[in-house]
Structure formats: structure tokens, C-alpha cells
């Protein structure tokens, strides 16, 4: 009964979405109050329907209703309750429903938090989102319905959730990532609505900015969580693989990062309007492309979903319609966009232009690398691969100028700046970054040229943030007053850039100075791994809720002193008979020690892997800073005081905007 109810609610939401999509545009065109009011209410009711439908699926999981095919394939009576709930989005059908839930959630949020916006605009925005919802609900209903039954032969037990996914990571990573992916649909809808109306003034940028930033925050956290999850779950110390599915989430993030920056320029200076609109369209298109790549099976990847050509075709057609239609609208209407372009070569506008050019090229590079094997196979039939060596090299090439420009770009004035006096101030900072980096790499274990470059750049960005604070402080009478004058959105930028520096340092140091050793070790034995002594002191077989575990116990000593006690496991899951390794990690701010059980060898000894990973935590710490930066930026008072601002006199408004910076 409950699955049928869920299905029915989904169908209701589908019908509602069709009404929303169609009636919104009619209502907005004729400025019909009733229809415009309807679009708001419909958005909220669609969200409520999808939420209820999602709850139905969740209940089916909790009740172990194996008459539902999706539940039978991805759950098991032995599965602990929290994994039964997260198993809802553990595979294609359910995760698609989660996607739709989040999409309609954003839609309802737009409907609720947009009282200050002109009604026809907001109605069109909801209409565009309604159309996207139609596509995705139809995709769910007609190709991937999670409520399909397996009648009459109901399995006695489910075939279990993939053990890789029986983890905290599955609970948090997909919802976060989807919040980001789908969140970009808001700025997309704003862009299309603006284009349809033909007026994209700077208000458009101001309204879109906080929504974009919030989506970007979720996306940053989602990607970082995925990376952290892979790091501890896959059991070989890697944290980023340039896997097509990772790239699928990285591309919209890169484009979204570019978008945040160009929106800043568009809002503050009225420049690059046309480009910003295009970028908004491209960012969401990349989100859709990512969905297509992950769910269609065109790419071979470790974590792509079940593949069915019908699904691939559906979403490819949908992708074609959305991208094609939005680019067509852009082509027809973009000539109406008037940008100001009053800035010199050495100005913040140019700096942001370079930021965007570089990020766009990086996005293009990732796209090219991801699709190249596909394209090549389609045209020549040759199978080829593009992997980490390509991506790492190309990514570094374009990251170097981004990082070099970052501290200058964040300090330079709008419009025009005299180059020489500005740049001379940076010499000391640049030289100290190089010297400190030199010291760091020597302490870390030797000079690697690329490690030195990377560390220098990380420190250079760090120095840029410090320099900015100092420069602001020196403008005022005292340090504290000066620092207090820095607005929230500026703090946001500084903290986010600080996050970039932290991530860069983490990536560089962990890539170049990690130690990885596979050793053969028997119980009672102590083996030396570089500066560490590893003692294998105990071995136990235990039983978990739905698996049998073999756990080794290891003491790690450094110079005779005990640092940590680790218990890596090998688990054999009862339902799927899959064997999984559970690494045990001693995490630290400056280094992780990571031990993985391998296989038992002939003579009773075990093969184990020991990793020493310096600064690996900084990779994710940096992402947290980036997200925090975004949070500071959206909490800036100018977004909260929008209505009050209207009442201020013109001169006051100018000073408010100036002090809030960017």
C-alpha cells in the first residue's frame, strides 16, 4: 500500500509540475495575479508531494518491504536501521528521487524567500524550475521508478546494500553534493527568466548571488566529503582519482566558482553581464551533463550507477532540450544585454576576467579529458584512456597562474590601478613565501621542484590574505578598528581564499611527501617502516551486525615512543559475500598514519600496507574554510537589509555598497 501511495504522490507531483511549468509563463506574460500566486503555491505543494513520496520509499526500506524491487536489490534484514534509511539513495532510482526532492526543495525555497522580487520575474523563475522538475520526475516515473514491485515472487530477503556504501559517507555525501548540483538550477532559472523578460540589470546579479553561493557551499562540502570518504573507505590512501564521476561533480564546481566571481563583477560594476548569464547556463548544463554521465553508462567508472540504455537516451534528450533551448534563448535575447565596460588593463575587472578565463579553461580541460576517450572510440573505434597523469599536469599548469593572481586580484582596485606602486608592495611577501616554502620542503624530506613551487604558491595565497587584512588595518587609526571595518563579504572572500591556500598546501605536501610501504608481518613481530616501528600484537575474529570481521592490532612507535594503536579490519559481508577492508587511521593535523590489512600469506604472516600521509587533512580543512567563506559572504548585511536599503538616500546607499566591498 505504501509504495503505491508513494507512486501516486509522485504522479501528482508530476501533474502539478506540468501545470506550474505552463501556467507560470502564461501568468507572467499577462501579469495575472491569480496565476502568479498559483505558481508560488504549486512550487511549495510539489515539494510537499515529493517529500511525502520520499518518506513512503523510506518507510518501505525501514519495513524491509522486499516486494519493492528497489528495496529488495539494495537492502537486507540484517542491515542496521541507519543504513536502511541511507540506502534509500544508495542506488540509481532512489538517488534520483532524492535529486528531485532537492530540486523541488530549492524551488519551494525560491517561492518562500523571494518576497522582495518583482512577481513576474519570480513566476518565470519558478516556471523554469518547474520545467526542470517535469523532466526529472518523468525520468523517475517512466525509466527508474523506485516503487516498482516484484510480484508475485517476493524475495525472502534483500540482496543487501553494497558494503562500500554501508558507511557514514553515504549518509552525508550524496545529499550534500546534490544540494550543490541542483542548487545551480536556481541561478540558471534566474538567468533564463531574465533573458525571457529581456532585462538583466544588476539587480539580476544581486538576486542570483546568494543562491549561487549557497549552492556552491554545498557543492564544495559535498565534493570534499566524497574525497574524504574515498580516502578512508577505499583503503589505499588516495583522495582524488580523476574518475569520470568525480569529474562530473568537479566541472560544475569549477564553473560555479567562475560564476561566483563573475557575478561579483556584474553586480558591482555592471560588466560581463552577457558572459555571466552564459556561465550560469553552462554551470547548470554541466550539472545535467554530470547526471547524464553518471547515470547513462556511457562512461566506465568505479562508481557509476546501474546502466540501462533507455535511461541514457532519455537524459541525453532532456539534456539536449535544456541546453539547446537555453542557448537558443541566450542567442536571441543576449543582444539586449547592455554591459558597461569602463575599466583599464590593470584593474579588478581584468583580474576577474583572468580568473574566469582560467577557470573556464580548466573546466574545458576536465571536460575534454573526460569525454576524449568516448569521442575517440566513437570516431576511430580505438579504446584509449585519460587518467591522473594528464589531469594532474594540465590542472597544475592552469592552477599556477590562478594562484599567482589571487592575492593581487583580491587587493587591486576596480576600474583602474597604477601597476608599479601596487606590485612593488608584493616583493617582500613573494620572497618570504619562497624562503618559507624552501624551509618547509627541506624539513619535509627534500627539495622536489614541483613541491617547492606548490608550497610557495600556497604560502603566497596565505600571505595575500594576511596582507589584505594588514592593508585594511593600516587605513584606520588602530588595528582593531581597521579590521572591524572589513565587511562580511570581504571576510568571506578572504576565508575562502585562505581555504584554497590550505587545500593547495595539503595537496602538494601529501602528494610529494607521503610514505607508502607494503610489508610482510607476523603476529608478535615488529617491522620498521622509514622512521616508524610497526608492531603486530594481536589478531581477532569477531562478528558484526551483518559481517564477520578479522581485525589485526598494531602499535606504531616513533623513536621508541608509542604514538598510536590501530585496528584495521577485513570484513566479509554475510548477504553479498563481499570482502571489504576497513583501514584504521590515526588522524592528525599534520599527518595521518593509515594501516590496511591485506591478505594472509602462506606462512601465517600478513601483508599489510602502512601509509604516512603528511598534511592530508588540510585538503578537506581547506574545503571547510571555503564553505565557511561562502557562508560569511551570504550572511553579509546587504542581503539582509535589502529592503531597508531602498529607503536610504542615494549617497548613503553608495557608502553602504562601498563599505561592503568587492
Amino acid at each position: 500500500m505504501i509504495p503505491e501511495l508513494g507512486n501516486f504522490l509522485l504522479i501528482m507531483a508530476f501533474i502539478n509540475a506540468i501545470f506550474l511549468g505552463v501556467l507560470s509563463f502564461i501568468g507572467a506574460h499577462y501579469q495575472h495575479q491569480g496565476l502568479m500566486q498559483f505558481s508560488k503555491r504549486a512550487s511549495i505543494s510539489i515539494f510537499a508531494l515529493i517529500l511525502a513520496s520520499f518518506v513512503c520509499l523510506t518507510i518501505s526500506f525501514i519495513n524491509n518491504d522486499f516486494s519493492v524491487a528497489y528495496v529488495a536489490n539494495h537492502s537486507n534484514t540484517q542491515l542496521p536501521i541507519h543504513y536502511r534509511i541511507s540506502a534509500v539513495w544508495g542506488a540509481h532510482e532512489g538517488s534520483l528521487l532524492l535529486w528531485v526532492l532537492i530540486l523541488t526543495g530549492w524551488m519551494a525555497a525560491v517561492a518562500l524567500f523571494s518576497k522582495s522580487l518583482p512577481k513576474p520575474l519570480i513566476t518565470r523563475v519558478l516556471g523554469v524550475m518547474g520545467f526542470i522538475a517535469i523532466g526529472f520526475i518523468a525520468f523517475t516515473l517512466f525509466t527508474s521508478n523506485p516503487f516498482d514491485r516484484v510480484l508475485p515472487f517476493i524475495p525472502i530477503d534483500g540482496s543487501d546494500l553494497n558494503p562500500l556504501l554501508q558507511d557514514f559517507g553515504l549518509i552525508v555525501h550524496p545529499p550534500m553534493l546534490y544540494m550543490g548540483y541542483v542548487g545551480f538550477s536556481v541561478v540558471f532559472a534566474f538567468a533564463i527568466a531574465g533573458l525571457l523578460q529581456g532585462d538583466l540589470d544588476h539587480h539580476w546579479a544581486r538576486w542570483s548571488r546568494p543562491w549561487t553561493t549557497v549552492a556552491w557551499i554545498f557543492m564544495s562540502l559535498g565534493i570534499a566529503l566524497g574525497s574524504w570518504w574515498a580516502y578512508y573507505e577505499l583503503g589505499w590512501g588516495g583522495w582524488w582519482f580523476w574518475d569520470p564521476v568525480e569529474n562530473a561533480s568537479f566541472m560544475p564546481w569549477l564553473a560555479g566558482t567562475a560564476l561566483i566571481h563573475s557575478l561579483a563583477a556584474t553586480e558591482k560594476r555592471g560588466v560581463f553581464k552577457s558572459w555571466t548569464v552564459l556561465l550560469a547556463i553552462l554551470t547548470f548544463s554541466l550539472s545535467l551533463l554530470g547526471t547524464f554521465l553518471v547515470r547513462s553508462g556511457v562512461l566506465t567508472s568505479v562508481h557509476s550507477f546501474a546502466n540501462d540504455p533507455v535511461r541514457g537516451r532519455f537524459i541525453l534528450v532532456f539534456l539536449g532540450i535544456v541546453v539547446g533551448a537555453s542557448l537558443l534563448i541566450y542567442a536571441i535575447q543576449s543582444s539586449k544585454i547592455r554591459s558597461k565596460a569602463n575599466f583599464g588593463l590593470f584593474s579588478r575587472e581584468t583580474a576577474l576576467l583572468f580568473n574566469n578565463a582560467l577557470l573556464a579553461v580548466v573546466t574545458f580541460m576536465v571536460l575534454l579529458g573526460t569525454l576524449h576517450p568516448l569521442i575517440q572510440e566513437a570516431f576511430t573505434g580505438d579504446k584509449s584512456s585519460v587518467g591522473p597523469p594528464y589531469f594532474n599536469l594540465m590542472f597544475s599548469i592552469f592552477m599556477i597562474p590562478i594562484l599567482i593572481l589571487m592575492p593581487i586580484g583580491q587587493q587591486i582596485n576596480w576600474k583602474q590601478e597604477s601597476m608599479k606602486p601596487m606590485l612593488t608592495k608584493y616583493w617582500l611577501w613573494a620572497i618570504s613565501s619562497i624562503l618559507i616554502a624552501l624551509a618547509v620542503v627541506i624539513i619535509m624530506g627534500g627539495i622536489e621542484p614541483m613541491a617547492l613551487v606548490g608550497t610557495t604558491l600556497g604560502l603566497w595565497v596565505l600571505a595575500g590574505c594576511a596582507k589584505y587584512v594588514l592593508a585594511q588595518a593600516s587605513k584606520s587609526t588602530s588595528f582593531t578598528i581597521g579590521v572591524k571595518k572589513i565587511s562580511r563579504s570581504y571576510w568571506g572572500m578572504l576565508v575562502a581564499h585562505l581555504g584554497v591556500a590550505v587545500t593547495v598546501l595539503g595537496v602538494v605536501l601529501t602528494s610529494y611527501y607521503s610514505i607508502e610501504e607494503n610489508i610482510k608481518i607476523s603476529q608478535g613481530e615488529t617491522v620498521q617502516v622509514e622512521d616508524l616501528d610497526v608492531e603486530f600484537y594481536d589478531f581477532k575474529n569477531t562478528e558484526g551486525p551483518n559481517y564477520i570481521s578479522s581485525a589485526g592490532s598494531f602499535r606504531i612507535y616513533s623513536e621508541g615512543e608509542l604514538i598510536t594503536d590501530l585496528h584495521p579490519e577485513k570484513r566479509k559481508y554475510n548477504a553479498s559475500k563481499m570482502v571489504m577492508t576497513e583501514a584504521d587511521i590515526d588522524a592528525g593535523l599534520f599527518r595521518d598514519i593509515y594501516v590496511v590489512m591485506g591478505e594472509p600469506l602462506d606462512d601465517g604472516a600478513w601483508a599489510i600496507s602502512v601509509y604516512y600521509k603528511p598534511f592530508v587533512r588540510w585538503i578537506w580543512l581547506g574545503s571547510i574554510f571555503m564553505a565557511l567563506g561562502g557562508l560569511l559572504a551570504v550572511s553579509d548585511k546587504r542581503y539582509r537589509q535589502r529592503r531597508r536599503e531602498k529607503k536610504l538616500t542615494k549617497s548613503e546607499t553608495t557608502s553602504v555598497v562601498e563599505s561592503s566591498g568587492e
Binding site: A69, N73, F153, S159, N162, L164, L234, G235, G238, D243, P244, R269, L299, V302, H303, S304, A306, K340, A341, N342, F343, G344, L345, T350, L353, A357, V361, V362, F364, L368, G369, H372, T380, D382, K383, S384, S385, V386, G387, P388, P389, Y390, F398, K415, N518, M578, V579, M580, T581, A583, V596, G598, E599, A607, S609, K650, T653, T654, V657, E658
Partner: protein, 139 residues
């Protein structure tokens, strides 16, 4: 149903990603480093999208052993990669070779960037900046 079941099993199999640990002994640290580098750059020809270092497929195991032997015999990275490429094609190379069919892959991003760079320098560099009448903001 059966089809779905098979698909599910296939996915479960492909997802069986756990660390493969072998304890090969090397004469020098350079050789060990070389071995690690190479197995992390070769794609398992039979798996979804994994290096032979990550994969636990039998073929990967054999390939790792071949790499180990060749490294121990003093082969260079270039020689070992060429050996693998000859047998399994470009598919095994995660580092795509720089050759005409890959020129677009390797040089297009740089070309795009250079075009943008020149366009910006030409357009913005020539422009004269007008003083604005009212304040710095358009509000």
C-alpha cells in the same frame, strides 16, 4: 527481475575495490618508487576504471608481477610502458601519449587560453578609461 539481479551482481563485483597488498622486495628505493609509479599509471584492461595498483583482478595481479620483474631487471619506465602498450593498446596508458590523434587533447586547452589572453590584452589594453560622473557605483 533476473536481468536486474544479474546487473546488480555485476555492479557489486565491479565495486569490489579493496587494497591489494603485495610485498615485493626491491634492491633499491628507486626501483620501488619506479614500480609504484608505473602500476599507478597503468589501467587494468579488464576492470571498470581502475589502475592495476587498485584492482584485485587476476590480470592486474599478473601485470603487477610483470612490472615487478621488469623493474628488477633494470628496465626503464619507457620500456615497460611500451611493452604494455604493445600488448594492450593505448587503453592501458592513463597518461595519453602525445601523438597526432591526441594533439587536440593535449594542446586545445592551452590554445583556448592563449586566444582569450590575446583577445583580452588587445581589447582592454587599448581602451581608455573614462572618469565616471557619479561615484564609483551605479546604484
Amino acid at each position: 527481475m533476473m536481468k536486474q539481479l544479474i546487473a546488480t551482481i555485476a555492479i557489486l563485483m565491479s565495486l569490489q575495490a579493496f587494497a591489494v597488498i603485495e610485498t615485493y622486495e626491491f634492491k633499491t628505493e628507486e626501483q620501488e618508487q619506479l614500480y609504484t609509479d608505473i602500476i599507478n599509471e597503468l589501467r587494468c584492461p579488464k576492470c571498470q576504471n581502475q589502475t592495476i595498483a587498485e584492482s584485485n583482478a587476476g590480470l592486474s595481479e599478473d601485470l603487477r608481477y610483470i612490472v615487478y620483474q621488469q623493474v628488477s631487471n633494470g628496465s626503464t619506465k619507457r620500456e615497460i610502458l611500451a611493452y604494455m602498450q604493445e600488448r594492450y593498446g593505448d587503453f592501458v596508458l592513463y597518461d595519453p601519449p602525445v601523438k597526432p590523434s591526441n594533439y587536440f587533447l593535449w594542446f586545445a586547452p592551452l590554445a583556448v587560453f592563449l586566444v582569450i589572453l590575446i583577445a583580452v590584452l588587445l581589447k582592454v589594453g587599448r581602451r581608455r578609461v573614462k572618469p565616471e560622473q557619479t561615484g564609483t557605483e551605479e546604484e
